[in-house]
């Protein structure tokens, strides 16, 4: 989750190399003890995404309030354990992806791609679980046209899955960069920006899991 690593932690000025950063977005803001991790303009993209999903969630709640009985009845058809498994997968991946920039800042450059690879593997595992979940629904004859609840289920989890795929591609890009030893104590901006996006994907899933699978 975004709150886990970005603000605070290594930013309290205890790092000896904080002044040695090159002229980057990170360097300009590193004077403040609570700087924004990564790239300010990527955060604008992330906020826009959060607003869009906020709109999705409001729409879901509005339509749900109209047909609470139908939503509750249809929700029983969802596989909560698969949803919970995916939540654990994404939360663990967020931990791994948060550990990567920390390792880079501490100069443990070799550990960075390992953490990222673990995060990527968990992202791929999420997609596999989602594939089996969708397949079970379609085999049971449940589609996007079944009712309003399943319309939201397929649309919202489908759009989120697109974000998981995009986030995994971003993780692969920063993993390749990390393997090329691009990230180190002096440069973590790209690494943090990519990690921030991944935390957003995780955060959105936690909301989706609560709204679709748990809310009664």
């Amino acid at each position: 989750m975004p709150g886990q690593y970005p603000i605070g932690a290594a930013r309290t000025g205890t790092l000896p190399d904080a002044d040695a950063l090159p002229l980057s977005a990170a360097a300009r803001s590193s004077a403040s003890p609570r700087r924004l991790p990564g790239d300010r303009d990527v955060w604008i993209f992330i906020y826009a995404e959060l607003c869009a999903f906020g709109l999705f969630f409001v729409a879901y709640m509005v339509y749900r309030s109209d047909r609470v009985d139908l939503f509750n009845a249809s929700q029983l058809g969802l596989d909560r354990s698969l949803g919970a498994l995916n939540t654990i997968l994404l939360l663990t991946s967020s931990w791994a992806v948060a550990a990567a920039p920390r390792a880079a800042r501490l100069g443990r450059i070799v550990a960075v791609p390992r953490y990222l690879a673990f995060g990527i593997a968990l992202g791929l595992a999420f997609m596999v679980v989602k594939y089996f979940e969708y397949r079970a629904k379609l085999h049971a004859g449940i589609t996007i046209s079944t009712d309003m609840f399943y319309m939201f289920y397929f649309c919202l989890t489908g759009i989120h899955l697109m974000h998981v795929i995009a986030g995994t591609i971003i993780l692969i890009v920063i993993w390749l960069n990390a393997r090329a030893r691009l990230y180190h104590t002096g440069n973590t901006t790209g690494l943090e920006a990519g990690a921030s996006y991944w935390h957003m994907v995780d955060l959105l899933w936690i909301f989706l899991f609560a709204l679709l699978y748990l809310l009664r």
């Binding site: 303009d41 993209f45 709109l55 339509y63 319309m151």
Partner: protein, 249 residues
């Protein structure tokens, strides 16, 4: 053509953006009755046909004029292409993608209006035919969104690489542009759904993506006009300050 004349045409092209925006919202949105709310896909054929009879004049004139208004997208796309070619140099693939995406947006939007004009053409005919024509129009404009997304993403990527002291678009706008382009994606669901927020009259397939498209268009227009203005100023009064803004950082 000397550069001063060229810049005059560039300025005219850039101003076709705000003109398009106002005219499109008025004719396509208000006069054609797509605002405040388009016809629901859940409407029965008879109700839909009655809607056409009730608003016949507005729908005919609104969409007929909006087809002409839509062509203002052509000069706007052209000047954006020229500005991107300045950034990209010898092999301007992103400018080409943007150009093709913008050029394809014109038929996507205007041909859907043709279907609605055709639907209004014979209000006395069998309502099912009117319904089929209305459906076709909405499915064309909504499910072919990706052409415009290519245009927007290409423009954002090029501007992110602008090395000028004053880049074509600020970085935040580039990221907003990519977001706005991707916000169209739920519109694909209009091909299946008839009710709810992802149907063609829904919040997430109509209001939000169309707002994002026009918001990007408005913001990009402002920065494109400013870019031409900077270049004109550098020619009119070549001061060190104005040329410094155009110089590579």
């Amino acid at each position: 053509m000397d550069e001063k004349t060229s810049l005059k045409y560039q300025m005219l092209c850039a101003w076709s953006g705000p003109l398009f925006l106002v005219a499109f919202i008025y004719f396509w949105g208000m006069m054609g009755f797509n605002l405040p709310a388009p016809p629901s896909p859940a409407l029965g054929a008879d109700e839909l046909a009655a809607r056409y009879v009730e608003h016949l004049g507005g729908i005919r004139v609104g969409f007929l004029v909006s087809m002409i208004v839509m062509t203002l997208y052509i000069p706007w796309t052209a000047v954006l292409s020229a500005q991107m070619m300045r950034i990209e140099g010898r092999s301007p693939v992103l400018a080409f993608i943007q150009l093709i995406g913008g050029a394809l947006t014109v038929p996507v939007v205007s041909i859907s209006s043709v279907f609605w004009v055709a639907a209004a053409y014979r209000p006395e005919r069998a309502p099912e035919i009117t319904q089929a024509l209305t459906d076709s129009g909405w499915l064309i404009i909504d499910t072919l969104w990706a052409c415009t997304t290519w245009q927007m993403v290409a423009a954002a990527l090029a501007a992110l690489h602008d090395k000028c002291a004053k880049p074509l678009f600020p970085r935040w706008l580039c990221f907003i542009t990519i977001f706005c382009g991707l916000s169209f994606a739920p519109a694909t669901m209009t091909g299946i759904l008839k009710t709810g927020p992802f149907a063609w009259d829904g919040v997430l397939s109509f209001y939000f993506p169309y707002f994002c498209w026009l918001l990007w268009f408005a913001l990009a227009s402002v920065y494109m006009i400013l870019e031409v203005a900077r270049r004109r100023q550098a020619i009119d009064s070549p001061s060190p300050a104005s040329s410094a803004r155009l110089a590579h950082a």
